[in-house]
Symmetry: C2
Subunit: 374 residues, 2 copies
């Protein structure tokens, strides 16, 4: 097995497949990258059982194959080497089944290959009709929802992000049961109804790959897996089993008051207010709408002190006095999900879930459960 | 006690005095900033017993005092508040001995003051004739030497940087007994001979203050303390007691070979060579000078693999074959201390200390003890 490849092409491919590397695993082979070389193409594959990534590089003037073959190269070290070499091209040769030679410019590396027979078989074969989404849109959907998913293994179903197809609408919901993010997207064509629950951590890895891409993404659902095809990259993740809760009933139908803010002013106010309590989920702040249409935000810590900050809303509609308390962190994370400069809080009662919407984010809504304070 | 101050002036002062704050201490008062207000000036003081810092702000159009007094404000929270407020000025008021009110723009903070009586008395009074050094030169001296000091409490004397005055020469030496950095500086006028040992950690904190300054620094030695005066800032550190070892005998008088390199090429080569062994002090690399005037650098890990990198020296003088092994990290740190683009290794024997000098760093020499490899 022997090939020569442009260093930048290889490094780019390695950055993508690295998302499927296992860092701590009882199976060392899962920390490796499988390299398969034929006359027509070079295939790089990683899998950590949760996420599997494959890239296919066609042989061309940037890749030259001298001898076919395959091996498993230690992922971390191989990536470090390719990052550090200074040659324009890299020569890769496998000797005697398990000795890898990597040459570039005046550098010469010898690496011991991992045992090939233990590498799991992973099929990236696509089946059925894909759901097609623009990469930029998918990236936005993930950025605006995945943060709201749960992290507790006690309710595994909430550690995923629910993607539900209803005709030509894609509804994406994530919730940890204290806050929820929902984004609805119009697809170019209708699809069979389907609901899948994708691990939020896998979506965050996928988003790193999407960052550098502006293209169509094809999503295939294959039994208990989701397979994303992005040009020559295949990204596959297992799905979370179990019923994602029906969250529609959580949304209040009416509001007794709506308050519109400049988002950045509100972010700065909330950020100042948590100066004594820190960024902990449990640090609560209280927001009070006064009759004079000012809003005061309060926070206190019995040992350190307290804060009162004042902010002028852009608009107030509904009753003229109100108060609500909530987790500062949840509120900040919800605000940051919006692209709009104007955001509106829609409140129904002191202990009822309230909504946040954005002037130019038609299809995004954030829901937060207030905290009881006495 | 009540005053108004420009926020940016206060924040700058707080950044400097924060270097003397204690983060974890059995004495909570040491995590506080002492604020003393009189008609003429505001004095901010911190001390963690090792380092003490004081800033004196004259009252002016940027500081207005309404009522004199003093208190200890919780350092971390006070700094966080002043970072986050958006007003151009900050109003500071002390009520009832221990309640601090801070107002800025539309933000209103109440902080509980720390118990004043426990704050140690620290005198920053200068005595005797100072040694005067330009702040930019002192910063360079610290940057080029302090990294080589020891970290082990088993030999406390080596955790300091030795400053020795010999007439109009200032010799600064740091060593952890495996490597050494020595910088000699010509002072504008001669001084009484003196040798002091300053904790390297204190010097690194001092360097953060010096970063933003271009001025003369006055150094006073007062019994077991060093006091640096930088404009309105006083930075004091305790000195390390005990005899700093005489290091002059370590320097070889002759060399059997001198090899000059481009520093950045050498840095990149060494960095590549440690790809399998990491940045650990104990990871050793071997350098071999070949008869054809190329230099090869080797490193290996029995479990992962090995590296051979080649570099062309700019010049070789002396014998035509040589080899030496050393800690990659010590070598990289020594190289980075030079400002020159050309550096020269001066070697005496496989197991004898070798020197590194820089073409334009006349007064700086780095010494490294080789490692035995078999």
């Amino acid at each position: 097995m022997k090939f020569t490849i442009f260093r930048d092409i290889l490094l780019d491919a390695l950055n993508h497949v690295s998302k499927g590397l296992s860092t701590k695993t009882p199976m060392p082979v899962l920390s490796g990258i499988k390299i398969e070389v034929s006359r027509e193409k070079i295939i790089l594959t990683t899998t950590n059982r949760e996420i599997s990534v494959q890239i296919v590089l066609d042989t061309s003037d940037q890749v030259t194959v001298y001898e076919e073959g395959s091996c498993i190269v230690p992922g971390k070290y191989f990536i470090e080497i390719i990052k550090k070499v200074e040659g324009k091209t890299v020569d890769f040769t496998l000797f005697e089944e398990n000795t890898i030679k990597i040459l570039s410019d005046r550098s010469n590396f010898t690496l011991i290959a991992l045992e090939k027979s233990n590498f799991p078989d992973v099929s990236f074969e696509s089946m059925g009709t894909p759901i097609v989404i623009k990469s930029t849109l998918l990236r936005q959907i993930i950025k605006q929802t995945a943060f709201a998913a749960g992290t507790s293994e006690a309710r595994v179903v909430l550690t995923g992000v629910c993607f539900e197809l209803k005709g030509d609408k894609l509804e994406v919901v994530a919730t940890d049961s204290y806050r929820l993010s929902k984004k609805v997207t119009q697809l170019p064509e209708p699809h069979q109804p389907i609901q899948i629950n994708i691990p939020s951590k896998a979506l965050e890895e996928l988003n790193k790959i999407l960052e550098s891409k502006d293209t169509d993404v094809e999503l295939f659902i294959i039994s208990n897996k989701a397979l994303f095809k992005i040009q020559n990259i295949s990204f596959m993740t297992r799905l979370i089993e179990g019923n994602f809760p029906d969250t529609n009933s959580l949304f209040p139908n009416t509001h007794i008051v709506e308050i519109e803010f400049n988002k950045n002013d509100l972010l700065a106010t909330i950020d100042r207010t948590q100066v004594f309590t820190g960024n902990d989920v449990s640090s609560t702040i209280k927001m009070v709408l006064n009759r004079d249409k000012t809003v005061h935000v309060f926070s206190s810590s019995s040992e350190i002190g307290r804060v009162v900050d004042e902010i002028f809303p852009l608009k107030v509609q509904g009753i003229d006095q109100f108060q609500v308390a909530f987790s500062a962190r949840y509120f900040l994370e919800a605000l940051r999900a919006f692209e709009s400069q104007e955001v509106t809080m829609k409140l129904t009662g002191e202990l009822k879930p309230f909504l946040i919407t954005g002037k130019n984010d038609d299809n995004l809504v954030q829901l937060i459960l207030p905290v009881r304070t006495f």
